[in-house]
């Protein structure tokens, strides 16, 4: 897979156009509170079902890259983050906009989202091969433990309570068990419903958990529409904007590393980068929280750098880094592709398509952020009473389109209600999504590992004796132990002492 193959997509007008449409969609869904990148990606899985895989990936990369950025637009203009990753951007973006400098805030957000995205794609390019080489040495038990480690970290980072995070993941695993068992061909947990024999289709579940649940939550909680600030054009020298670029590379590195960790994602990355910025910047333009551009630089560099980071474990180990990459994984499955250590070798064209789509989306991000974003403030103000019913119709189309079954629409509604209650009571939807996507793989690998170990004399050694297995097991145990309240308390006591 050479650089030329990636850049060959830059000469393909259809590919470019699809990425552009994806980017435009990403700009809208990211900027409008109530719509999310995850929701849009979930809907796109069914729309792009019949497309060529490279085109489907192009569209999704456009939505993903620009959608993560555009959450900053509403964060800056109405103090409501369009995406969870932009929460930290509100801290300085909105105060800056209130001072009449919304244009400056948007420009900084655009440039550093671009820097973050480009950085992470370069790192993806550089790191994917070495990680794939390591992943080739993984045994079935290693895959099982890796997925388990992923679920525990997601559980610890995405829910208010660790127990609830893990319960979400466990329920997700149970849902993934529904249907025909892949090894013995026995139907499991179908409750006599013939439509469930083929398993719970992932697309309606995702559309329900992210789309319908969001609609129900906003309606039930009576969503708040913020007041939009005016944008007055300012002259800002590029030299001034780019003087933060070296520090932003540090935030990008943090973002990419955090992105590669399953479950952490944009919100955690931007928060950590922001707290680092408050320590690194001794003399910010204005104090942090009052409109410091340094805060926007940190938040936006880090949250966009998560994208490439989240794609690294997805492509090399088939372990998604966040909810969007979990949906991208389902795109691979829908199109008959199997990510993992051999993916880059066996599907170099798809890897190139992802990189090309991502890089093109970065360029569109810069264009849309600088030219279109300051002009779409009126669109952000689409009242939710208009938006939400249309989203419901889109959810119906999205859930039906995959298999052309009304049962999937019902499934979407059921999971929408489940998602609503999960949000309401602090259960992590991301954990559940990841578990549903990974459940089948975990089951198959676990049983394979146990079957292989059954013929060995020392079964425990056969299961956990290898260095990779041992490291993963220790990491999982540490993650669980560190999140037990009693252990947490004890550690705090030791720290104080």
């Amino acid at each position: 897979m050479g650089i030329l193959e990636v850049f060959s997509y830059f000469l393909n007008p259809q590919f470019i156009l699809i990425v552009f449409f994806g980017a435009l969609t990403g700009l809208m869904v990211g900027a409008i509170p109530g719509l999310s990148v995850t929701m849009a990606t979930a809907l796109l899985v069914s729309v792009t079902y019949t497309w060529q895989t490279s085109n489907a990936l192009a569209m999704i990369m456009g939505v993903y890259v620009v959608g993560v950025f555009s959450g900053a637009i509403s964060a800056i203009l109405i103090n409501i983050p369009g995406a969870p990753a932009s929460v930290v951007t509100t801290l300085d973006g909105y105060p800056l906009a209130k001072q009449g400098r919304a244009y400056t805030a948007l420009k900084y957000a655009t440039v550093y989202s671009f820097v973050g995205s480009i950085f992470s794609f370069i790192l993806l390019w550089a790191m994917a091969r070495p990680i794939s080489a390591i992943a080739l040495k993984f045994t079935p038990m290693d895959y099982f433990l890796l997925a388990l480690f992923g679920l525990t970290t997601v559980g610890s980072l995405t829910a208010k309570s660790f127990a609830k995070g893990l319960i979400s993941a466990t329920v997700g695993l149970a849902v993934s068990m529904i249907g025909m068992d892949s090894v013995m061909g026995t139907p499991r947990l179908t409750l006599g419903i013939s439509d469930l024999k083929s398993g719970v289709a992932i697309v309606p579940v995702l559309v329900g958990l992210f789309g319908m649940a969001e609609v129900l939550t906003v309606i039930a909680e009576g969503g708040v529409d913020g007041q939009i600030l005016k944008i007055e054009k300012e002259v800002i020298k590029m030299k001034d904007i780019l003087k933060h670029v070296f520090k932003s590379l540090y935030y990008c590195t943090l973002g990419t590393l955090i992105g590669a960790l399953p479950g952490a994602g944009g919100p955690v990355a931007s928060f950590i980068a922001y707290s680092q910025a408050t320590k690194l910047e001794k003399n910010p333009s204005v104090p942090f929280g009052e409109g410091a551009v340094e805060g926007i630089v940190a938040s936006e560099s880090a949250n966009n750098a998560v994208i490439g980071g989240a794609l690294i474990p997805l492509l090399t180990l088939a372990i998604p880094g966040d909810a969007v990459t979990a949906i991208i994984l389902s795109v691979f499955y829908v199109h008959g592709l199997q990510p993992g250590p051999m993916f880059i070798k066996t599907n170099p064209a798809m890897f190139s398509a992802i990189l090309a789509g991502g890089l093109l989306a970065c360029i569109f991000l810069l264009f849309l952020g600088l030219v279109v974003a300051p002009r779409i403030s009126k669109l952000i103000a689409v009242p939710k009473k208009i938006l939400l019913p249309i989203v419901v119709v889109l959810c119906v189309i999205g859930s039906f389109a995959g298999n052309n079954r009304m049962f999937d629409v019902l499934l979407m509604i059921v999971f929408g209600v489940i998602g609503f209650f999960m949000r309401r009571y602090g259960y992590s939807i991301a954990s559940m999504t990841l578990a549903i996507v990974l459940g089948g793989m975990m089951d198959a690998n676990f049983r394979r590992a146990v079957s292989l170990a059954a013929s060995e004399d020392d079964k425990l050694m056969a299961l956990f004796g290898r260095p990779i297995s041992l490291i993963l097991l220790v990491l999982t145990v540490i993650t669980i132990a560190m999140n037990i309240p009693a252990v947490k308390k004890m550690l705090q006591k030791i720290k104080r002492a």
Binding site: A163, P389, V392, F446, V450
Partner: protein, 162 residues
């Protein structure tokens, strides 16, 4: 006084969740053991091995959640803790129930009267429910949206519609 009621309600809700998940875990365990027994194969090959492990985890986690609830109740007695009921915004249950009912009616109506008409009726109802009162706008959006979606998805993208 009102705050105290909220706290108690929060603990009660968490307790119900513990019971719900332990019940689900026990149910899954019984299911796995029963069907494994009927299958008559070794555990290592059994399709019910992983569901059994999931059920054990679920029960353990429900116990873990119970410990958290205990901690919460303790904090409540010292008035230090904050419960979900306090943090979560108030829910408009009536609006939510009507929305869900309309979605379910929409679901059943679709195969009977088709995507376009059911979509029109659903959108009119929803716009009205959510507070839109401009008739011309409701009519325009309720007619236009299903038509545009039909054009884009069915005609342009060749996506099957209900």
């Amino acid at each position: 006084m009102k705050e105290n009621v909220f706290r108690q309600e929060g603990v009660k809700k968490e307790l119900i969740q513990c019971l719900l998940f332990s019940g689900a875990g026990i149910g899954l365990m019984i299911y796995s053991l029963y069907y494994h027994g009927n299958a008559g194969i070794e555990w290592v090959m059994s399709p019910y091995l992983f569901p059994l492990l999931i059920s054990i985890f679920l029960i353990l986690l429900a116990v873990g959640l119970l410990a958290e609830v205990h901690h919460l109740a303790k904090a409540e007695s010292t008035k230090k803790g904050a419960t979900n009921a306090q943090i979560s915004p108030k829910i408009e249950w009536k609006k939510l129930s009507i929305t869900l009912s309309m979605i379910i009616i929409y679901y059943f109506a679709m195969p009977m009267i088709g995507f376009l008409i059911s979509g029109f009726l659903f959108l009119v109802g929803m716009f009205w429910l959510l507070g839109e009162r401009r008739i011309w706008l409701i009519a325009l959006l309720a007619v236009g949206t299903p038509l545009i979606l039909y054009g884009v998805f069915h005609e342009l993208l060749h996506v099957m519609l209900p």
